[in-house]
Symmetry: C2
């Protein structure tokens, strides 16, 4: 028999110092690196955040240890301590099949090149929850926010201003942005398309559009410009977002049933326009002779494959880039508030 009977001796759990380790033993900490490298944690911190202030050999030694151990600093801790999260929030309705995704792409690339990461929040098309989404986002303490559109509740606007971080609103236009703005006027697009139709000699313009804020702004410009020309009745088919080819395909026959003499239709998106074009073909309506169709977005697809389509080109990438730059300028201590109208262009291939 051995001299001790381990199983008999009760283990005094209380005697063991209560470990307060919570995440488990997995995580490497800055102190682990510091110990191995024979420096203080502060020096390790500097290696990551201000390498120029560290002696070359020290730098090298610490880096070797970091590499060897596979240490990755904890930015939750770093952010809490420094009050700099290095996070930028982007709130967009959707990234699926949309021009917004180009904006996000370029925005995100630009931000990450500058050392920031992008927290993506998808708001859908309901404005209801934008504010609770903002709360969720603000809980990460982002250093800047990109917003889509300019239609926000007063409470959201005020809260965002109180937070004191730079904000860019995008993809729309207003005289009273929360902070900065990079966008264009949907209303003016409606006006421009109306003028295009008028110039073509359209007698009975119609509209197929989703019911979101920005589509409604285009509609308003469209209708008001037509009203100036004496056309007060505009046939409309309003569809629920998200727009799709299928939606456009089914909307056109409905529109023409209400108003058989419609000879030019402004669609809320290229997808809708393509659907409408398909429907027109099926109905034997010559495009653009009998029926002119104008979309919105200028997707490469649409314009390359549907030469008889007119559309409105908007530069989503430029919006992403300008918005990122505006934010970065301010984060670098710049005082200027960017206000950029990127404009748009009605692109018609049917006449060229």
């Amino acid at each position: 028999m051995p001299t001790a009977k381990p199983t008999d001796a009760p283990i005094d759990l209380k005697a063991a110092p209560a470990r307060r380790t919570r995440g488990g033993p997995k995580g490497l900490r800055i102190t682990d690196v510091a110990a191995q490298a024979g420096v203080s944690p502060i020096t390790v911190s500097r290696v990551f955040n201000n390498p120029a202030s560290v002696a070359p050999e020290t730098l090298e030694r610490v880096r070797q240890v970091v590499q060897k151990l596979g240490y990755v600093p904890n930015r939750l801790a770093g952010g809490l301590s420094s009050a700099r999260s290095r996070l930028i929030a982007a709130i967009v309705p959707t990234v699926a099949h949309s021009l917004f995704s180009e904006t996000i792409q370029v925005f995100s690339e630009t931000m990450s090149r500058a050392g920031y990461e992008v927290l993506l929040a998808l708001s859908g098309y309901s404005d209801t929850n934008e504010e609770s989404l903002l709360d969720t986002v603000l809980s990460r303490r982002p250093e800047g926010v990109l917003l889509t559109g300019v239609a926000h509740t007063d409470s959201l606007r005020e809260r965002l201003r109180n937070v004191g971080i730079p904000v860019v609103e995008t993809w729309d236009m207003t005289d009273t942005p929360i902070d900065m703005l990079v966008g264009f006027s949907h209303y003016q697009i409606g006006v421009a398309v109306a003028e295009r139709f008028l110039a073509r000699g359209a007698k009975r313009p119609g509209l197929i559009s989703a019911s979101d804020v920005r589509a409604l702004a285009r509609r308003a410009g469209f209708r008001e410009r037509l009203a100036q020309a004496g056309m007060t009745e505009v046939a409309e088919a309003i569809v629920a977002p998200p727009s799709s080819v299928a939606t456009g395909k089914s909307a056109l026959p409905r529109l023409l049933q209400d108003a058989p003499d419609v000879d030019a239709v402004f669609c809320g998106s290229d997808l809708l326009a393509i659907g409408a074009l398909g429907a027109a073909r099926r109905m034997g309506l010559e495009v653009p002779g009998r029926l002119a169709i104008c979309g919105f977005g200028d997707l490469e697809f649409a314009t390359e494959t549907m030469p008889r389509l007119t559309t409105v080109r908007v530069d989503g990438m430029r919006i992403g880039l300008s918005a990122a730059r505006a934010l970065l300028d301010r984060l670098d201590g710049g005082l200027e508030r960017a206000f950029v109208d990127v404009g748009f262009r009605v692109v018609g291939r049917e006449s060229g």
Copy 2:
């Protein structure tokens, strides 16, 4: 004269307690809410994280104060303290014009419904920096990671396994995933398209493809299946990502210059296919009679508007949903490792 001359008396900076406030006085803290509500900070914390454990009246009172003050908890602090970041990282090549954006959309929606936020990291098409991107991402201590593809360096794979968080690889197939997988076989797609071409009686198949890993896997399946049928020479035009309509349009003439008798071409994406279709038209080649064209992606655009195009349908949304579910199951304590082949379908309208 007043009894004191403030400007004369030197201000003893040392005497003032060194304020360690760094973020400035702006931020509301949990203690502010606690004080106003007459409870301890712990109770306020519970109101957010475990409301069921708080007495109804206390709950109500605290919520009122939160509302009134506009308090938003600091998740940097919360995450550090609890070792739960509530963050999920998604690393994808791009979100612009791509099926990945559908995946991200659904993934993000599903995750946010479950109380997580998505940190989006765009890797581009270079594998070079995927590892440094991963470091950046891991510094936020995400609780799970979505990866695109299965081609990762050993070091990345090992590191990710060491971190011990659930990982889903997507959009590809392998026998040896890092952890979980939701995808499909690009090789098998190549095989299937080859078989389609063979069934159509193609004598001289060709390929227009980008050079990324997954496109190359499709190419391999395509070539190997054709080789089995005795066709060892396959004309190819390899293009640099990202694919676009323009690229496809310029690639087809090059391909046909090398191999004028090509009668069926497998394109790496629908965009390339559309470009090729445009070029074929311009060259007076009947599609699919003289030249069959097959794309990849089944974009609604492509199939609705180009009835003579064949394509390969892949369900990006399903990938996003399944990947999210796999991660969530594991985060909820599930032990199962998802391994899902979502498959694909060759969709040909030219024969229907």
